[in-house]
């Protein structure tokens, strides 16, 4: 038989034959092991607070223990135990247990075990006559209406209780649930609610007892106890060993509700418990209740609840959408309609990516009426674009959908325009702008994009990692007005910062390819720049100066020609593109431009000065550039000559044709120590003093030498004259000792006082005579001194007496000073 009935109490006679606790009724063929198992499940002790001498009314109020146990072989025992007070001998402590042994499992009951609470089928004493009819009828207490009222009253604890019941199925971490209530009826109602909230397969596995005094010994998953039960409510028990639900929160386990339970509580609140069976209808028996199954349970219940418009916590909405989205083509179709409405209403609770996935899934499922959802998705995407990157898959799908359904696009556009305007007016990463641009295009809102042309897309075309993407977009999709905005921006860049444009225009780049096909009419600088880039790529541009001439020609031929100086400046930037212009190229440019004003306005003048300042050496090119500039400056009467240019131009090419005026100017500049680079100044001094002290020139006996020296004496200043003396010592001291003619030349040059010469020079010539020429007198010998005297007599007759005089002085100077030597000579 599928159901066997057992009755157990303390009786004077029973199946054992002697007085005491025993089975008073049991099937004749009952297995002894079954008897023992049933006996182990029937124990009852009244609450400690129960009256010592209970009246009939007291006995009625005693908690009834309805226990449901599963045995290892799959069978089950449902036992209803009531306290009866006195036994046959007048002793208290008797109870009557009516147990049903379900050998083939609980299915034989035809209902949930807890529905047998207060069933009229239960016997409460051995004296009751046997009932007729089915083995067990449902009790009158367990009704949906009462359960809903009960849940409304205990709503605050409901989710926690259901969570703990579900967790109790976890073989690894499940804990027994202890429900503390004054009345066992309330425990039974908790159980009814739990069983109704669970899938049928789990509810059949939920073992429980509505009452026991000794919960530590109870093997059930849910244990109902009264507040005075033998349970210590210690911290460890409440927090770790059990999940305790007490009316007193301080005696309850910490709340830790599962999402499933929160949703289930909302289902109860909404009085829609039909949703449980509707949701779980297709769920198989899980076997093991693990986190995956709990997620599944959560998803399906959330979906059912959301589809029926129940209010859910935010994470419940997310679970519903997640579950439905991941099960397209399965059992989720029945929920789509309602779920989409909920999603539209609660879209702010749904992560954007999930909302996108939901739209796609709904479309794949062939759902109609997804327009509102798409509109919401677009609004959310636009609003969120400032903070997160739109999902690629979603955006592709969305654009395709909008392009394919113009009517939908029109509706969405009306709701999106303001948001699009708002986000496009702020700073945005380029990739997101591109996506918004495509969206705007799909929605027919291209006009909202125009401001991004010069503000975002133009710069992005020249800088950053999105260059290719922007070029591709502009080439393939962009609206004509937007393209014009971008091209205007590029022309501006080409005009003012051509190097920026050139850097972005390698010949085969997407930017260059797009510009090659773009309509550039009226954007002359951009055209010229591209032309140069193209020519260079083809190798037809020639050297820089040639390219410069080409660019100049092109720019001057454009209708909107720039001012001459600006054109040159632009041409230089375009051609040289940041590379340094060489001195030689600069000189050529100066020759090409010629016009002094243009040279100055274009910046070429400043460029050349910078080149000269940085040159360091007075080589041919530098000198040539300086002379070119000097010629330009000479034509520009309004301007003053640059000291640097003059100095380099004069000293860099000193020769016979150098005018005394130029030389004087150079000497004067050096004497004043002009603000020119030190290196350049030293080089100029070296060159100048080398010119002055060249032995070959000194032997020429020309008046020009005296004039030049006079120039030095008058304008050179103390420092330059000092340098002259130092150079003379270094360069001429040795030469003079070898050459009588050079001695004579130098004497003739240095001896006379110079007209207008400064005191500095007077001192200098004394030093030169003493330090350079005087030592040579002793070295040359008398014969060569005579030769030198003859040379002076022949070239400067008027100076000969001075020569003789000076020579005598030099001859005697050593004797006067050499007293020891004299004593030595005169001694015998």
């Amino acid at each position: 038989m599928a159901i066997q009935e057992f009755h157990y109490t303390s009786a004077e006679s029973g199946l054992r034959g002697s007085p005491g606790f025993q089975f008073v009724k049991a099937p004749a063929d009952a297995d002894p092991s079954v008897l023992r198992q049933v006996e182990s499940l029937v124990a009852y002790e009244p609450p400690r607070s129960a009256p010592a001498r209970p009246t009939a009314e007291d006995l009625e109020r005693m908690p009834v223990s309805l226990s449901y146990s599963r045995l290892p072989d799959g069978s089950a025992v449902l036992c209803n135990t009531t306290y009866t007070g006195l036994d046959y001998s007048g002793r208290s402590g008797n109870f009557y247990a009516h147990a049903l042994y379900l050998s083939e499992g609980p299915q034989a009951l035809g209902m949930q075990a807890v529905e047998a609470w207060r069933s009229p089928s239960w016997q409460h004493s051995a004296d009751e006559p046997p009932r007729a009819g089915p083995a067990l009828q449902p009790g009158p207490v367990m009704t949906t209406a009462r359960a809903q009222a009960f849940c409304a009253d205990r709503h605050a604890r409901l989710a926690c209780f259901l969570s703990d019941v579900l967790r109790g199925f976890d073989p690894g971490d499940g804990k027994q649930v202890i429900v503390v209530e004054d009345e066992a009826d309330d425990v039974a109602m908790w159980l009814y609610v739990a069983c109704a909230s669970l899938p049928a397969a789990l509810a059949e596995r939920l073992t429980f007892t509505t009452y026991t005094r000794r919960p530590y010994l109870s093997p059930h998953a849910v244990i109902g106890i009264s507040p005075d039960a033998d349970f210590s409510f210690s911290y460890a028990e409440i927090a770790h060993h059990y999940r305790v639900h007490h009316l007193d929160p301080d005696r309850s386990s910490p709340a830790d509700p599962l999402e499933w339970a929160e949703i289930a509580a909302e289902v109860w609140r909404a009085c829609r418990i039909d949703l449980f069976s509707s949701a779980y209808g297709w769920l198989p028996d899980p076997g093991v209740v693990d986190s995956g199954y709990v997620d599944e349970l959560t998803g399906v219940l959330a979906t059912a609840a959301a589809a029926h418009g129940l209010w859910l916590p935010a994470r419940g909405v997310v679970s519903a959408v997640t579950w439905a989205t991941s099960r397209t083509g399965q059992d989720a179709e029945r929920f789509w309609g309602g779920l989409m409405e909920t999603a539209v209403r609660r879209h702010e609770d749904i992560p954007l990516a999930l909302l996108g996935a939901m739209c796609q899934a709904a479309s794949r499922a062939g759902e109609t009426g997804t327009g509102s959802l798409v509109a919401v998705l677009v609004s959310r995407l636009v609003a969120a674009v400032t903070e997160e990157e739109p999902d690629g898959g979603t955006t592709r799908w969305l654009l395709a959908r909008l392009r394919a359904e113009p009517e939908l696009a029109r509706v969405v556009a009306a709701r999106t325009r303001s948001g699009l305007d708002r986000v496009l007016s702020g700073p945005l990463p380029v990739a997101r702008v591109l996506w918004l641009a495509r969206l705007a295009e799909a929605l027919g809102l291209e006009d909202t994009l125009l401001s991004t042309g010069e503000r975002i897309l133009g710069p992005a075309l020249l800088h950053g990692p999105e260059t290719d993407a922007v070029a591709e977009y502009l080439a393939e999709h962009a609206d004509r007005h937007l393209r014009d905005r971008v091209l205007d921006y590029l022309n501006e860049v080409a005009t003012h910062e051509p190097e920026v444009l050139l850097a972005a225009l390698p010949g085969s780049s997407p930017v260059a390819l797009w510009l090659a096909t773009a309509d550039l009419t009226g954007r002359s600088v951009l055209i010229v720049t591209l032309d140069l880039v193209r020519a260079r790529a083809e190798g037809t541009a020639g050297d820089n100066v040639t390219a410069f001439q080409r660019v100049m020609t092109a720019l001057r031929s454009e209708p909107n020609v720039l001012p001459a100086g600006a054109v040159i400046d632009l041409a230089i930037k375009v051609v040289w593109n940041g590379t340094p212009v060489s001195v030689r190229e600069a000189a050529e440019l100066v020759h090409l431009v010629r016009v002094p004003e243009t040279v100055r306005e274009s910046g070429l003048w400043a460029l050349c000065l910078a080149l000269l300042a940085n040159s360091g050496a007075l080589d041919r090119d530098v000198t040539g550039l300086a002379q070119s500039l000097r010629q330009i400056a000479a034509r520009d009467r309004s301007s003053r000559e640059e000291p640097l240019v003059v100095l380099i131009a004069v000293t860099g090419r000193l020769n016979g044709v150098t005018t005394l005026a130029d030389l004087c100017e150079a000497v004067s500049l050096l004497g004043r120590q002009p603000p020119i680079p030190q290196k350049l100044r030293v080089a100029a001094e070296e060159t100048l003093l080398g010119w002055y002290l060249d032995p070959l020139r000194l032997r020429e006996w020309s008046q020009r030498l005296a004039d030049e020296l006079g120039c030095l004496a008058r304008y050179g200043g103390r420092r330059l004259i000092g340098e002259y003396v130092r150079h003379a010592r270094e360069r001429l001291s040795r030469e003079v000792r070898k050459s009588a003619e050079l001695l004579a030349c130098c004497f003739a040059l240095w001896w006379p006082e110079t007209d207008g010469g400064a005191d500095d020079w007077s001192e200098a010539r004394q030093v030169l005579l003493a330090d350079v020429l005087a030592p040579a007198v002793k070295k040359l010998g008398e014969e060569r001194l005579v030769t030198a005297g003859d040379r002076i007599h022949r070239q400067r007759r008027e100076m000969y007496p001075e020569w003789r005089h000076w020579l005598d002085q030099q001859r005697t100077r050593g004797r006067r000073l050499g007293l020891p030597w004299l004593i030595y000579k005169k001694s015998p």
Binding site: S10, A43, A52, R53, S89, S92, N94, K175, P219, H240
Partner: protein, 396 residues
Amino acid sequence: MSMIVCPYCFARFTSRRLQFRCLQSPHGTRTGQPCPSEVDGPLTQFLGRATPVRSGPVFSANGNRARTPCPTCGVITSKRVCPQCHNDLPGGYANMHGRIIALVGPKTSGKSTYTTILVRELRTRVGNAFDSAVNVMDDRTAAEYADRERRLYDEGQLPAATAPAGTDLVYPLLFRFTLRVRRFLRTRSRSSSLVFFDTAGEDLETADSTARHVHYLAEADGIILLVDPLQFGPVRDALNGRVTDMPKQGTPPDRIVAIIGQLIRDRRNRSGGSRLDIPLAVALTKVDLLPPLLDEGSRLLRCAWHDGALDRADLREVDDEVRAHLQDWDEGALRRQVEADFSRHAFFALSALGGEPDMQDHGKTTPKGGIRPIRPEDPVLWLFHLFGLIRAKKEH
């Protein structure tokens, strides 16, 4: 280091092997988190549960220490558990010698009533005479004993019928017996734990149920067998009409002794003919009903005066008198069975209530004249003397 017998699973082990259970306190932990619960396999097995029992982690340490820190959370715990079954042992249980006393008897012999009154007498009158103290050792016993004492003494309600062990797990009642001992010039306290097992009468009716549910008999240090004299035919005949609630006859007492003896032999792997050295105290209960059958001035009806030591002479006379009556009532069957199975035994007579319970509509209550127990302590004191806990008077 002392040898301990677990009062729950009767495993024997040295105190050093005791294990500790983490308190799972949230305060003062090393990690900031309390230790998580663990499935306690041994405890689950002990309770015979299919569903696992979760409790604080059990760890090994030197069991001789009263307290030790949990190796995981660092919180100091003093909760020691049996290394075999993981039941929590009462505080101090490991530091004193435990004595397991099994209280057996047929249905309606008054075991639960006797246990309650015995403890009360040991705490009060007998304690005063021996300068001893008796108190509960664990919360479970405290709750149970307080409930029984309240119902019996305050509400006059006899204890409820004890449910058979087959319906629920039988937990022992644990008491600490402390005696002040004067030796030489010093007075010291000696404590011993007393473990009482209250058995349902149904469990002793057959050898099968006894073996299944009363296996602790084999581990007992002493057994008190309560015998209801109303089970003997001559007594029933003699008192017929005088006793308002004559119980039905159940399993004969000599049969119960035989069952117990055979169980212990089987458990201890002893041969069938050997006598057991477990002390067996056979006590006739409800002696207050027997005056018509006793001699006038019978010792069985007056309490002994022990005065700090066991009055062996008095007990011997009680023993002789009971043996004589048993010879009349069952032709010596019980006496012979006891002598055949137990080498150390004695016969006692007592009355827990001191009068016949009053039968009311709402059940049996204490006698109208109040609770006046007669010699309830004699069997226990005899066992205490055999255990060496109390001394005996010198006989002259």
